[in-house]
Symmetry: D2
Subunit: 328 residues, 4 copies
């Protein structure tokens, strides 16, 4: 039985990720198609508190499916962690008669959403949106595929010049707690070594790996360093390696925030559209405190409780083993 939902709002929160706009579009249009009045909240939870809430129609999401970033913007919001903040947010939603909320973001976003739905009479569905691909309940999160393509295209360019010069290149990629981008980009680029936050690798081990490459006549080596690696970032690692390994020149690239931007890949746009469409349909069926995700080729529901207590990305040891085999 369909609950009596007439007004739905959508917001993006946390680090932005490619595909968020495609998801906003899907949420808004699916709502309107079903006769719902749709609203957008600007600046994430901050906008709930400051009442920065605007009506949205089908045209307000035209021509955004291909854009990086988020037209609703995001912001950090400490106040939403307080009872006062949560109550003020609820009052603002009620003033617009908003019955339900779609939140697009990561761990922190879902934590705030769960508490909000437990404290107040409002239905909430979460959509996993983060380039880190570290949420339980979905094979992929919005933005991860695009970020991977960005990283791989960058490293391909470095490989061109690496081949010309017999050098060691260190490339720092995002992933403070999760090595998913680092490990998988190492596979996709044929990197000679990868340093992950989940696994300690000593400079000795790294030098040994790189030395083996030299013996087999590889003409260049690329080392991918996750920003969360315990030995430090790419600069520090490069410095330590240089001390031990002086016949190679070492060069450093820090990709930084360009990994968060760019036009979403086809994969991310389809994922975003399916998840946004599913999020509204779930609200209309009465679901709440759930995350919509993709498992195989099917939409899957996970309770926010479960999504927040499990961790999706464990170090994929089989893939790590594979990087060693394939970079011989």
């Amino acid at each position: 039985m369909r609950p009596n939902i007439k007004n739905i709002a959508v917001l993006t929160s946390g680090g932005d990720a490619p595909g968020m706009n495609a998801c906003i579009r899907a949420v808004v249009r699916t709502g309107i198609y079903n006769g719902i009045n749709m609203f957008g909240v600007l600046q994430g939870y901050q906008g709930l508190i400051t009442n920065n809430i605007i009506p949205m129609d089908a045209r307000s999401v035209s021509n955004i499916i291909h854009m990086g970033g988020t037209i609703l913007k995001t912001a950090r919001c400490l106040e939403f962690k307080t009872d006062e903040g949560q109550d003020l947010a609820f009052e603002n939603l009620k003033a617009h008669n908003i019955d339900a909320l779609v939140v697009i973001g990561g761990d922190g976003t879902f934590t705030g959403a769960r508490r909000f739905a437990q404290r107040h009479q409002i239905n909430v569905i979460g959509v996993p949106g983060t380039i880190d691909n570290d949420l339980y309940g979905s094979d992929f999160t919005l933005g991860y595929d695009t970020a991977m393509n960005t990283v791989v295209e960058a490293i391909d360019k470095i490989r061109d010049t690496a081949d010309a010069h017999d050098r060691l290149f260190f490339v720092e990629v995002m992933g403070r707690d999760s090595g998913c981008i680092a490990l998988r980009s190492a596979i996709a680029c044929g990197a000679e070594a990868v340093l992950l936050p989940e696994k300690e690798t000593s400079i000795d081990e790294l030098v040994k790996q790189l030395g083996a490459g030299a013996v087999t006549k590889k003409t260049s080596s690329i080392v991918i360093v996750s920003e969360g690696h315990k030995q430090g970032g790419a600069y520090d690692i490069a410095k330590h390696v240089k001390e031990r390994f002086d016949h190679y020149d070492t060069k450093v690239t820090i990709l930084g925030h360009l990994q968060r931007g760019g036009s979403p890949s086809s994969f991310d746009r389809i994922l975003a559209s399916r998840l946004g469409y599913a999020a509204v349909n779930e609200l209309l069926k009465g679901s709440t405190q759930m995350m919509v995700g993709l498992r195989g080729n099917e939409i899957a529901l996970t309770s926010l409780d479960e999504a927040l207590t499990e961790h999706n990305f464990k170090l994929e040891s089989d893939l790590l083993e594979m990087t060693h085999v394939l970079s011989i």
Copy 2:
């Protein structure tokens, strides 16, 4: 128990697809890592018959992971469909002491491989490589993700100029029997309509859909036409629509074979690496007449028999319904 395999050959057959080179690399290096002598067969099954077989080492697959096409080339080969052709191919393999074969390709490739393995004493593993994503046993085939990004980037460019001009654009994409690329690129680009080989759509219906868009003040419309649509290709459709709908200008793009090329996406490179690695490991475990695929995030085995009798891509009616909702 590991069978007594000492020499493995790899070939690519059928239409080439981005990721084939990454897969060849993975096959060759996984074999060498395990002490196997590796061989490449040039020109697909044709090369088996003409004995165009070369030894490969770890360096012969350096710097190919990012390249489109296939370094082993492909060719059509009618002779391999005959008993004589199959027997000659087997003699050539025996002359090199080759015990097992990895074949990368689609339906036709697997049909040839199955017969070969049934007729002769040779172990064969198939890897799904085709941009059409129409094989049973794997969520994705090699090259599909890259082809999708190519199509989406092309249509994004058309959208730029469509917005400037109030025009109707018809874009023909690949997929003679499968509308997977057409349907999913329609979602990813926010196309106004899509014509699929699996579903008859009359010009009347199409005109009606496009007219509805005009009423809601959409400034431009893009129609994606699968090359296998029953009403003809994009040129024919555009001509018929023009006759009914004269206040719009109609323009046609035929993407053609550029959809088969390009540097493989990160997704395709990882898929190719995992499947190539798994193919050799399966041969070393004694598997034969199987296809390696990806289901969710796991490697899955399907017998060639099953892969050839089932069809993976059925028209995804839920996605087709979604395209109508999201293009309002």
Copy 3:
């Protein structure tokens, strides 16, 4: 001495080209920086007649420098070719106290602008904006460089699959009267042959060229066909060649309007910024009926009279000769 200019309008007309938005941004901001009130005219000359004229400030051109298309849109306008249309346009400009006009477009745009400035008391500067690169007075026109990169990236993808298969590919590119895109993309892609609107090439000659390639063991051939070629488009040519040359498979791609879209290249953005900046500065110096262009690395002024009577792109015979030498 600076003339008494207080209000300037900008419009885009004719086929849209990447870089138009970057140019609009430069025109608007340069005007505002100099204390001028700036206006945008929507839909080109059509908007002058329908009074579709809006005020623009520095923020109204934020975040458009990287976008294809034109935020001011373009349209064809037969009415502006009549005295009544021109007079009505002038009345509308006067109603907004607009003293001067920047028009971005090609031949047709400049023809209209010259007549308008001759008939009425209004200063006009033209900016060359067309992907065809066929205007006298500027080494390059806005959008040409981006279109070239689009064509080259497309043909590179076709080359991947061409190498795999021993095929003949025919690629149709834009250029109804000018073979600039066709000739120069032939050089940039190493095409085996190119058919230009400026030069008749018989099927016999073409077959001869392609046959020579086969003899020297080239594994694939790409023929670029300008849409204005006298023997017909790529489809027709491919059909004729196929009849003579049956051991090759022939495949056709029609790039169509995707050549007009896409994010402008760095070159086009800088060109657009410089020309827009110069256009306003010239108006403030009292110039009128002039086109701003780039000659070498310097801004150059050409009268609209001269720009409209000379033709910039003559067939570059030296480059055509070079394509034959380099494709051996």
Copy 4:
């Protein structure tokens, strides 16, 4: 009158740049077309000394026009700065009967070439190949246009996320002595500020510029830092700004060597083809100790003496002024 040249060698030296392969291809095929025996020298001047010289035919440069890096590789070579090194190099060339040399590179490359041609009986033509665009005698150097597109695409991605978050982004680009890439990418990306090696900018001035942006409600700011800036690299600048300007979050990207790689742009491929073609034709006319360059749309010759004493890239003050006007 054509000199008696029968054998020509080509080499790449210094930092590699996109377009070098397209140029090697043009040099080799132009030579072969004219009946010359062609040779490639591996590892730049190092290969002259170690006699790493190989014959090249038309097929040895097939399918490289679109590749970054250089198939001939480059290396630094201190020995070529000595008399002994130069003499040894000459002996090796004579052993192959090589009469003339095409060198592709920058300042350092030309310095070595000039001395070599003065000391020994050998004709030498230089081709300007460096991403820095800092050579006198050519409007553009090979690789500069591609590097610019790489930088601009990277900063576009950062802009996506900048808009979402109200942040200050610092992006370090190449150019130890020349701010050409920094200044022109600032224009192409609409950066809020740019720090150049040619011009001291104090942190106070920078903070003032960025503060002005905040007042006019710009939602994000990007600062481009040339690696040669006197106040330090992007990390140091970001740290200093952060101390003064605490309401903004600051983020840093170091593009590094990815700026040297990538498939060459259409512009660079055409430039490379024209210059390589001209270099061989000049040798066949008897020219020596000259650099071939592009001025406007024409090939221009400059003596190596002049190229090495003049400096092409002076700070373009008009463009710097323009960046301030256009980023209001």
